[in-house]
Amino acid sequence: MLYSDLKGRKLVDTTSADTVGKVDGFLLDPATRSIAALEFKKTDHGSVVVWSDLTAVGADAVTIGGASVVVDPDDRLADLATKDGTVLKKRVLSDAGEDLGTVHDIDLDPESGALLELIVGEKKHRTSVAGARLLGVGSYAVVVAAE
C-alpha cells in the first residue's frame, strides 16, 4: 500500500464507531525497516498510534479498538518524528556515495507495517528501492545499500 493512498484516511474507533482522526504521517524506524507508528490529525487527544495498537489498516479506514491507544509520542517516537527522522522528500544516498534522488513515496505492508519499497526520483525517472536496502535515516539523507 502506498503511503500517498493512506494519507488522509480516517481513523475509526471500533467500540464507538466514531471517526477520531485522520492519517497525517508515518514514523519509520530504520532499525526495523518498518513503520513504528502512524501520526494522526484532528484527534481529541494524542497524535500517534503505535503500529501494533492498530486493529486494521483497511482500504477505506484505519481502525483502532478504543480511543485510548491514541497517545502522545514517547521519547523514541518523538525522535523519529523530528525533521531528521522524516523520509519523504529527503535525498537518498547509496553507501557507495551516489545520490539516487529524493523519496517521493513509500510502499508499506498494511499487515505488518514493514517497509516494502522506497519510491525514489522525480516523475520521469522514478525508481524503486527495496525496503531491505535501507540502512539509515538522518539529518542529511536516507542511506541505502548500493546494488
Binding site: 530504520p30 531528521d84 544516498l93 547509496s94 553507501d95 557507495a96 556515495g97 551516489e98 545520490d99 540502512l135 539509515g136 535515516v137 538522518g138 539529518s139 542529511y140 539523507a141 536516507v142 542511506v143 548500493a146
Partner: protein
Amino acid sequence: MRTSEIGSLPVVTLAGDDVAQVKDVVFSADGGAVAGFTLAGRGLLSGPLKKGLTWTKVVGLGPDAVMIADDSALEPVDTVIAAAASSSAGAGSGGNVLGDRVLTDTGSDLGKVSDVVIEYDNADGGPCDVVGYEIEASDALKASSSKGNKHTRLLLPLPDTLAVSSEHVMVPSSAEGFVSDDLAGFGAAVQAFRTQLKGGS
C-alpha cells in the same frame, strides 16, 4: 574520478547524518595513493575541523558523498597526516602535486599537473590508487602527440610508485606513449602502461 571532484563533498554516516565535508585530499608520502581527507564543518561559515578521515575508514566514495559507518570513523587530523607520511618508504614529499612539472626520466617536460586521477573499488576495501595526472600539456608534448592538437589538458598514466618533489614529478619516458584525452578509456591505458613497465623490467 578526479580528486578535484572530491573537494567539498559531504561526509555522511550510514545513519544518514552529514557530519563534515571534505576540505582536502591527503596523499600518501609517495603520491601513489589517497591516504585520507582533512575535513571542514558543514555550512558556509564553519571552519576546518580538528578531525580527519583516513581512507581505510571510508565505506564508500561516490560522486555525491563520502560514506562512513559512524562518527567514530573520524580521527584527529594529525593522526591522519602522520599515517599518510609513514605509509611508504619513499622519500618524496608527497603532499601537493598540483602545479608540479612532469619530467620524464629522459629529461623532457610533459607539462604541469592540474588534477589527480584516482581509481578505487568500493566493494573490496582496497587502497584508493592514484593512477594518473591530468596535465596541461607542454608544447613539446603537444607537438609529439596527435591528441595534443585538440586538447591542452591530457591524462597521463602513472607507474605504481614514482618520485615526487615540490617541483617535479618524475615519470618513465614511456608514459608519453600512453597519454589519453578520455577519462572513460583511461583505466585501460593505465593497465597497458603498468603491464608494459613490469614486462620491461
